[in-house]
Symmetry: C2
């Protein structure tokens, strides 16, 4: 039985809380956060505290707060026990103790929207081999996909996630803006977006690519550009089309 304290009350903390709470191999001993209002949602199920000087003893302290607050909060943990953060972009070394690690769930979390953790990849890293094993064990309590990922890999993975999630979401936003210009509902695009992702089950994105830029259909691209008026949209259309054409330049 692993005992765990969660530091933080945001989207990641809330999602980890539910996953840890459901596991029969984890004892969730405390949730600590500055915001007393946010702590309320946990208080029926475990001890809560807004005082970081008042941590209970645990095997693992999981810091799930904004990246820039990790160094300050991790300093407050003077208890024995493994201290980990959950950030994709933050080096493990910002945690001052030697008994440190990273427990990074590679997913996008939304307030009040609790996800099933069983398929979420958990990327673990630790300074010490025994701590690494302990983190693997913690990961396996909530997910079927636990990976040992070092800091270099994690940095690249986080960057990769920015392209796959943040940037593609912005393209969906542009897509919605264009629909609205013609009084069309964005609902029209949703089955297409879903199928774009489902295709990745049997094709790599390299194979799945379609559209005028891959075919080097310059007439269609010209007509598309004539429809755009926003300067950023025009630049994005051109740059993405060039990037696609270049990727397949040997093909035609």
């Amino acid at each position: 039985m692993l005992s765990v304290v969660i530091l933080g009350t945001g989207n990641v903390a809330e999602n980890l809380f539910h996953a840890f709470y459901e596991s029969t191999s984890i004892r969730l001993t405390q949730v600590v956060g500055r915001n007393e209002e946010s702590l309320k949602k946990f208080q029926d199920k475990t001890k809560v505290s807004s005082d970081f000087e008042n941590l209970v003893q645990a095997d693992i302290y999981v810091i799930a707060i904004s990246d820039n607050a990790i160094p300050e909060i991790s300093k407050k943990i003077t208890q024995e026990g493994l201290v980990v953060h959950t950030s994709g972009a933050t080096p493990m070394e910002v945690i001052p103790t030697k008994n440190r690690g990273v427990f990074y769930p590679l997913q996008t979390f939304t307030k009040g929207h609790v996800l099933d953790f069983s398929t979420i990849p958990i990327c673990v890293e630790a300074e010490d081999p025994m701590s690494f094993t302990k983190l693997q064990q913690l990961g396996e309590c909530i997910s079927n996909k636990v990976y040992g990922i070092n800091s270099e890999q994690r940095k690249k993975l986080h960057l990769s996630a920015v392209f796959a999630n943040n940037f593609s979401n912005h393209l969906f936003h542009i897509s919605e803006v264009l629909c609205k210009e013609e009084n069309l509902s964005f609902e029209l695009l949703k089955p297409l977006i879903l199928e774009t992702v489902k295709k990745l089950d049997f094709l790599s994105p390299l194979e799945a690519q379609t559209g005028p830029a891959r075919r080097k259909d310059s007439e269609s691209m010209k007509r598309h550009l004539e429809l755009l008026t926003d300067e950023k949209q025009i630049k994005l259309y051109m740059l993405l089309s060039e990037a696609i054409s270049k990727t397949y330049e040997k093909e035609l």
Copy 2:
């Protein structure tokens, strides 16, 4: 009972064939295509022909071929009956007869991968009101989502689909390339990509946006840029981050 001839044997033709074939309100009377090999997959279920001069009589002729071949093929249809193409990017007017229209299924189709049409939006347009009604009827035989969409709207919708599908798929490709640079499997990113899309069920893309560009977290963006070496990836990272930051500039 509507009788239908399909002209074409590619991905769209194949998918429409299966949807039409399953409907008890449609009589699929012929599939016509240049490629005799491709015709074989239809021959057990309907008449096939590689001779465009040899079309049978039907209520509706559905041209599902590459955009630039539509004018030439549509000229060959001298029979009475409504002639429609299935292209998002092509004006209805390239079809020479007055009894013309568009039957545009807004989806990405893959060879050999048959989709359930019931949730695929079908965008219909016709010159004549009776033909329009007939196309609506045809659409409703295979889908619960049939929309009257004029040519201006359809052009914008097709452009919108390029952002939502073609361009986001290329971002997934970049994401995979970055993973491979660190010997990481793209499988790691798939739950994130799926959740990015699932979020759109309860949040607009504008609300769903996360990441360093929205937060204007310049430190994280600087660290990301240091990891990139490919010039196109760098330009895309900068342009997409600027576009996101601009979208939320009044927020911080």
